[in-house]
Symmetry: C2
DNA sequence: TTGACATGTGACCTATTGGTCACCTATCGT
DNA sequence: ACGATAGGTGACCAATAGGTCACATGTCAA
């Protein structure tokens, strides 16, 4: 069951969105400076405005980016919620057991005289 | 600088590998039961052996799966290291500030009389 | 040794994706 | 009102990815 999901296209959309290096670069750009406009982001990436627009659309549909319009410009903000959900519900599943296995090993070693 | 990398194709390969639902299913299958063979995994997924092979190859090149040969069979094991690296170096960057922002807010609220 | 079994390779096709462009709408400043 | 600026749409193309198949190699078990 899903309690609340800002992820329109589901988990799959988030993973797919993160799969492209350009989109990760855009997230990095927004992480460095939030609320940037399309034309500002366009300069950060070797691509025409239209390519950037498509990537931003993918990020937005995945819920990784939220937007607000101010006059004729569109401001883009990073939304960490989906990536946090991915982490909590999926990444931790694989990463944690390994970490705890290490911890157990450590404990075991320390407990052995 | 990279200290040690089991990720052959780099971070990008890992993200790309995780982007496909079939490959995530395969990881789930290996998470449920480690060391499965190709034909065993084939039954878990609506696809021919060859499709599964390609997906496993992608997972292996991303370092998410490691293999061992036993006679004529090839055993597949889940490797949590790359996903852990992704988490530590990338996911946490976006997820953590948000979490700490919440924590700060909480602290602030509690400190206000 | 012979047949069944487990996996591997390369060609092949189709659907999807990344990227560009011509053209269009809306808003700003003067 | 005007040109300049910010963003949007749909068509289009090339590259890649997902999937299947014919065929081929290595390994087990009787």
């Amino acid at each position: 069951m899903t309690y609340w999901s800002p992820i329109v296209g589901g988990v799959d959309a988030v993973f797919k969105a993160l799969a492209d290096p350009t989109r990760r670069d855009l997230l990095d750009a927004l992480f460095a400076e939030d609320g940037q406009t399309l034309t500002a982001l366009e300069e950060r990436v070797p691509m025409t405005r239209f390519g950037v627009m498509k990537h931003l659309k993918a990020l937005e549909e995945a819920g990784l980016v939220v937007t607000r319009k101010r006059g004729r410009e569109k401001l883009h903000f990073l939304n960490p919620v989906p990536i946090r959900l991915i982490h909590d519900r999926w990444v931790s599943k694989y990463a944690e057991p390994w970490a705890s296995a290490l911890t157990e090993l450590k404990t075991q070693l320390e407990d052995t005289p």
